[in-house]
């Protein structure tokens, strides 16, 4: 048996043990470098590009600082309404998912038996394994005029709905797509509430509603906000669902970016639109931090 400090591995180990900062630096530098170069640098390039413009004739990017992209977004009603539509949809979808997720998560965390909880969680997470596109096409099959929903409606003698290619269809599909991202953090927030707190509230005279309102909601609020970060940002950044199931005037910021970058060849304008998205999301994250969401993650 060699003495402790003989082999190279052992000596390296000892050196690292004596210098925790070196250990930290060696562990973190590869991912940090990757993050800096691939992610932050490209983001910085994009943000700078937002302040450039393209020459209308040649299509070349002119490297002169200008606010023109932003003033165009603000003043041209097309873009203003695209931003507003995207933002409204993100808010409405988030609220819808909160309303659905609250009772469902409560039921899952506090009411059902262990076996049922495993089963329902599996059901909930199963769609996440299916392709996003497959799910959207499934909804087209449900909502379109010759689809499942109008079929059922006509069989029941109800007036048929024409939801496909409308904003309502987008709302339904988005709410469906992102629901698991809301339920999971809200569910785990409910699970962290000790049963004795609900008993204490009841013991002190509060009925179910008051207990829900005064004890449970405040305690799961960080979970709700955490979930809303997902539902809000995923809706905000999406461009496929508007493309596939939205109507003629259902463009999102993402679609506008796609159009100006790939069809219009106007990269600075696309960058400016992306900048707007980032600002909205940044503002939302600040609000979320204020509401204590990151303590729940």
């Amino acid at each position: 048996m060699a003495s402790p400090a003989n082999s190279l591995t052992q000596r390296t180990g000892a050196v690292l043990w004596r210098r925790p900062w070196l250990r930290g630096a060696l562990t973190l530098s590869p991912p940090l470098l990757w993050f800096l170069i691939i992610y932050l640098a490209s983001l910085a390039v994009m943000l700078v590009t937002a302040f450039f413009s393209t020459d209308a004739l040649t299509g070349n990017i002119s490297h002169q600082w200008t606010w023109s992209n932003f003033s165009q977004i603000v003043h041209q009603s097309v873009y203003a309404s695209i931003v507003l539509r995207t933002l409204t949809m993100a808010v409405v979808v988030t609220i819808t998912d909160i309303i659905i997720a609250l009772p469902f998560s409560f039921f899952l965390a506090k009411v059902v038996t262990w076996r049922w909880r495993q089963f329902l969680l599996a059901l909930l997470l199963l769609p996440l394994w299916a392709s996003y596109l497959a799910k959207v096409y499934a909804w087209i099959n449900i909502l379109s005029d010759k689809g499942v929903l109008p079929g059922i409606e006509s069989r029941l003698g109800l007036p048929t709905t024409h939801l496909a290619y409308t904003n309502v269809a987008m709302w339904i599909v988005f709410s469906y797509l992102w629901l698991p991202f809301m339920i999971v953090p809200v569910y785990s927030a409910f699970e962290r509430v000790p049963d004795s707190l609900m008993e204490a509230s009841s013991d002190l005279g509060a009925g179910s509603w008051r207990t829900f309102r005064w004890v449970l909601i405040p305690m799961v609020l960080p979970g709700i906000v955490a979930g809303s970060i997902f539902t809000f940002s995923l809706t905000l950044g999406d461009f496929i669902t508007p493309l596939l199931i939205g109507g003629s005037s259902s463009n999102f910021i993402g679609n506008a970016i796609y159009d100006s970058a790939l069809n219009g060849g106007n990269l600075p304008f696309a960058a400016a639109l992306a900048f707007i998205s980032i600002i909205i999301m940044g503002g939302y994250l600040l609000m979320a931090r204020w509401a204590g969401a990151f303590e729940a993650l």
Partner: protein, 355 residues
């Protein structure tokens, strides 16, 4: 009502009848099963108004389940619960005039101490000014006034315990239920809180039903105590009664350490402190035998000796560590173990009926 002046906030509490002869709580045939397993079996119990009543027993003996049945957290399978003359068997917790101090305190983490204490009053729509006054008064009573604006997470275990107590008694319940409230505290704090709880109970004069598995706690604090075993009550009585005259071998061994000996009258219980150790032979009028010491445990005030008797069984003896020098023993010493006939309490093999 011996404290406070208002009866608001207690709509379900059947106050007004002030006859002291009326029991605070009456249980008849209370039974609870968990998946076929009997947790509480046909329990009859009368607890007087203003009594400090303790339910003592090992875990799984049904004492906590019975407390939760009284609180309304569990629905009973059979029997009735009458609270100051009102049948509350079918009422949910929020319609009963009882409040609970939980084992884990169950303080609301998103509320301050004062908000926690005010919760029950807020639910019952007690006006803000009266609410503030009552919260201040109970916080003062549990010596937590200085911490009114703190969050529960900023408090120590003992302080949380006091807040939990204040949150319950501010509602002036007819009965206060305490579920092993001192279980999580260290010994010194526990002893302090025992004194404190007794003081508060005397001060407000409401019925306390106290669940514990700590026999010492049960003996020091209670007016009466019930020893639970397998969902039934093995013995009810004053602490000295239960300790000196245990109804069964189970009670004898659970409440304090005891030696079960054979006498010519049958099996009997002798408490370790009633046993004499000596190196001389038995005096006349004494019962006992000989053996050798197998363990010596110095406990501060007393020393506990374990003696392996020549007949094969072991006995436990406790001797005061008094300054008056007596002979001490070490492991391996031959000793004579002696007790007097009147210190041996005969065991009847049936348990004394409840009530």
């Amino acid at each position: 009502m011996r404290w406070g002046s208002k009866t608001t906030g207690q709509p379900a509490s059947p106050r007004g009848v002030n006859g002291s002869s009326q029991p605070g709580i009456t249980l008849r045939g209370v039974t609870k099963r968990f998946g076929g397993q009997l947790a509480v079996h046909d329990v009859d119990l009368d607890i007087a108004q203003g009594e400090f009543f303790t339910m003592l027993g090992p875990s799984g003996s049904g004492k906590t389940t019975l407390l939760r049945l009284i609180a309304g957290f569990e629905v009973l399978d059979a029997g009735t619960i009458i609270l100051e003359g009102v049948d509350v068997t079918g009422l949910p917790p929020y319609q009963r005039g009882v409040n609970t101090v939980f084992q884990d305190y169950a303080l609301f983490p998103h509320f301050s101490v004062a908000q926690n204490v005010a919760y029950g009053l807020r639910v019952r729509r007690v006006p803000a000014s009266e609410r503030r006054e009552r919260v201040e008064r109970v916080l003062d009573m549990v010596r937590m006034s200085a911490f009114a604006d703190r969050r529960p997470t900023q408090l120590s275990g003992g302080q949380r315990q006091r807040v939990a107590l204040a949150r319950a008694i501010v509602n002036e319940p007819s009965v206060l239920l305490l579920d092993e409230p001192l279980g999580a505290l260290d010994l010194k704090l526990r002893q302090e809180m025992q004194v404190e709880l007794k003081r508060i109970q005397r001060q407000i004069g409401i019925t306390f039903i106290y669940v514990t598995h700590d026999q010492e706690e049960a003996l020091t604090m209670s007016d009466r105590l019930a020893v639970f075993r397998d969902g039934t009550i093995e013995q009810i009585g004053h602490p000295s009664e239960v300790y000196e005259q245990p109804a069964s071998e189970f009670v004898a061994s659970f409440v304090g350490t005891s030696n079960v000996v054979e006498t010519n009258l049958g099996r009997a219980v002798v408490r370790p402190e009633k046993i004499e150790l000596s190196s001389t032979s038995l005096a006349s009028g004494e019962l006992g035998g000989t053996g050798h010491i197998t363990d010596v445990a110095y406990l501060g005030m007393v020393t506990r000796y374990t003696v392996a008797m020549d007949e094969g069984h072991t006995m436990s003896a406790v001797r005061q560590n008094s300054s008056l020098e007596r002979q001490t023993f070490t492991i391996g010493d031959r000793v004579t173990v002696a007790w007097k006939l009147h210190d041996a309490f005969p065991l009847t093999n049936q348990s004394i009926a409840a009530g």
